[in-house]
């Protein structure tokens, strides 16, 4: 692994950072408050190529590698966590599986739409009774002539309220368990497909997180991704990539907490001197900075494994996701502590950052699931 960034990675970081600071950060407090989906900024990001970072140019993407993906998601999340999630889902949970498992027609039809932001992507896996335990899924798809008939409900789906293209997982043969699961590309305007409850979340509040309801939805056969029964495999492979992203979001959120803390600790005076002079504050800042750098390295390492074409890098991806998300919550907590009572108010961004961080430990496989993945790989 090269511990230094390449020229194009450095430039990408530079430009995304500047864009995020001047375009995304100013609206972050507002969309957190209103829950409004940041379409204006999504369109601007589409123009820059941020909605299809890893998608090849021939399908409308920017053709970057997975470390670059992590760099971009980190910078976006540092400025606005909600926007970071939206972009990450579009890239890794919709763009990636179609790029990786789709046939030529599917790629030509859907990838340019996702890259240009004409239609956003969403990933319908979780259900009211099936979260980390994917096999407990109840959604079914029955083949009927040229169509699959889809029935079921998905919950906690990011981008759902504003997306146009949904990757939906369903059993085509429940008896086969994991091997009976399939993946479908479902378009928003398909009859029988409706949106359910909009979740009122603690953090990442502008991500249009909704239920998906499928009632006898007729999906054309050509919208099956890969083959019947390959859904679980595709899902696991996609989640590995997505965990690089979650790690990157976590690093970005944690970095913003550290940046705010550094700034505040230099300004805030107690007992006649700035609090950054106190060893207890310095100790917290040093711990935060060290853990963030460690997390960033793990995220880059997972990206590096994917770049090298490793077929199995579940352990590395799980480590990146688990570690980065758990330190992110811890770093945000310390950042609030450094801010004291002010950190608990909406006068400073840190309370939002604290709320935004928590979800990272939960979605895309809770940290407990990540630990099981890591331990299994090691003790096989």
């Amino acid at each position: 692994m090269n511990f230094d960034l390449t020229n194009d990675q450095k430039m990408l970081q530079d430009q995304v950072k500047k864009f995020a600071d001047s375009v995304l950060a100013p609206v972050a407090p507002d969309i957190d408050k209103s829950g409004e989906f940041p379409w204006d900024n999504i369109k601007k990001m589409a123009e820059l190529g941020l909605l299809g970072i890893i998608i090849p140019e021939e399908y409308g993407g920017a053709g970057f590698d997975y470390i670059s993906l992590a760099i971009a998601i980190e910078e976006i999340s540092r400025a606005c966590a909600s926007t970071g999630v939206i972009v990450a889902v579009n890239n890794s949970l919709a763009g990636y599986p179609i790029m990786q498992f789709g046939n030529e027609e599917q790629k030509k039809k859907y990838l340019p739409l996702l890259c240009k932001g004409e239609k956003l992507g969403a990933f319908g896996l979780t259900e009211p009774n099936a979260g980390s335990d994917v096999a407990a899924m109840e959604t079914t798809a029955r083949l009927d002539g040229d169509h699959y008939i889809l029935n079921g409900t998905k919950r906690f789906i990011t981008n759902a309220g504003e997306a146009g293209i949904y990757m939906v997982f369903a059993y085509t043969n429940k008896e086969l368990k994991h091997k009976g699961m399939s993946t479908f590309i479902v378009e928003r305007d398909t009859p029988g497909f409706s949106l359910g409850k909009h979740e009122d979340l603690m953090g990442i509040r502008a991500t249009a997180n909704c239920e998906l309801i499928f009632e006898d939805v007729k999906i054309p056969r050509e919208n099956l991704l890969g083959k019947e029964g390959e859904g679980f495999k595709m899902c696991m492979n996609t989640l590995d990539v997505s965990r690089i992203d979650i790690g990157a979001q976590a690093v970005g959120i944690a970095q913003s907490a550290l940046d705010e803390s550094i700034k505040y600790s230099k300004e805030r005076k107690t007992f006649g001197q700035p609090i950054c002079n106190f060893q207890m504050v310095q100790s917290m800042l040093a711990e935060m900075a060290t853990e963030i750098q460690a997390a960033r390295m793990l995220v880059y390492y997972a990206g590096h494994c994917k770049n090298k074409g490793m077929t199995r890098f579940s352990k590395e991806a799980a480590m990146a996701k688990y570690y980065a998300s758990s330190i992110s919550v811890d770093v945000a907590r310390k950042a609030v502590q450094i801010h004291g009572g002010y950190g608990y108010t909406k006068d400073y961004p840190i309370e939002r950052i604290y709320r935004d961080a928590k979800i990272l430990e939960l979605y895309e496989g809770t940290n407990e699931i990540q630990k099981i993945i890591i331990a299994r790989e090691l003790t096989r």
Partner: protein, 257 residues
């Protein structure tokens, strides 16, 4: 239209704790971040807009160390066609005059209708290079430019003056403009452009390509120092109301309101 834009990579010192290094002639740069000089980003954008309007070529030039290539590459990603780095490590005692001489030597064989520079560099605040370069190239110049309209070989130019005044000039190309911040809204490079720019070659020229004889600095840096703290600050004490009253009193006393 053929355009040249001169850009400089500078240390970002606005929010940093700046310290003087052991030579006494420079600042400690270890932990500083570096970026394209602020007004240069506007000069670059103005150059790109002109090129988009009229076609032609756009060349970015920078005098700097190898790290300046990162900055030049950003210029390539945003829209420059080619980039030249003059190796700063080959030359010593770079004042504004010598810098302008070296830039002239680097671009003298290029065709150009317009040369852009930023109006001031935020590291040394000389504001010399653009003007001196114009003189050396023998072309007219305008400084602190806030608007440019070009028709054929004529340019209508706005300059920003003190007191909110704007000066309107008519000029004939070729000419050099030093650009004020705020003239436009600098763009961000798209990811695809970044990937292409990363592969582009940057032409590097050094002492062996530029005849150094006759290029002499006019000024040499002797010392950097922090001035002693002045005694004109006064710390007011008391309750919020008392302090407010004191402040109001002082302002009145000084005739400021």
């Amino acid at each position: 239209m053929d355009i040249i834009v001169c850009i400089k990579r500078v240390a970002q010192t606005a929010e940093a704790d700046v310290k003087i290094d052991s030579s006494g002639k420079d600042i400690v740069k270890d932990r500083l971040t570096f970026d394209m000089n602020e007004s240069d980003t506007y000069a670059l954008e103005e150059a790109i807009l002109l090129k988009e309007k009229f076609g032609g070529t756009l060349t970015a030039v920078s005098l700097g160390t190898v790290q300046a290539e990162d900055t030049l590459r950003i210029a390539l990603a945003k829209g420059a066609d080619s980039a030249i780095r003059i190796k700063a490590e080959d030359f010593e005692g770079l004042d504004g005059y010598k810098t302008a001489q070296l830039l002239k030597a680097a671009i003298k064989d290029l065709k150009f209708d317009v040369v852009f520079t930023g109006c001031i560099a935020t590291d040394d605040y000389y504001s010399q290079v653009g003007v001196t370069l114009a003189e050396l190239l023998g072309v007219p110049h305008a400084t602190l430019v806030t608007k440019i309209d070009i028709q054929d070989t004529k340019a209508q130019v706005h300059r920003e003056l003190e007191g909110g005044l704007i000066e309107h000039l008519d000029m004939t190309l070729p000419a050099l403009f030093t650009i004020q911040t705020g003239i436009n809204e600098p763009r961000y490079a798209s990811l695809i452009a970044i990937r292409r720019a990363a592969k582009k070659e940057i032409k590097v020229i050094g002492a062996s390509e530029i005849e150094p004889t006759g290029i002499q600095a006019n000024a040499s840096l002797e010392e950097l120092f922090t001035p002693p703290a002045g005694k004109r600050a006064e710390i007011l004490s008391g309750s919020m109301d008392e302090i407010s009253a004191k402040v109001a009193g002082i302002i009145k006393e000084k005739g400021l309101i």
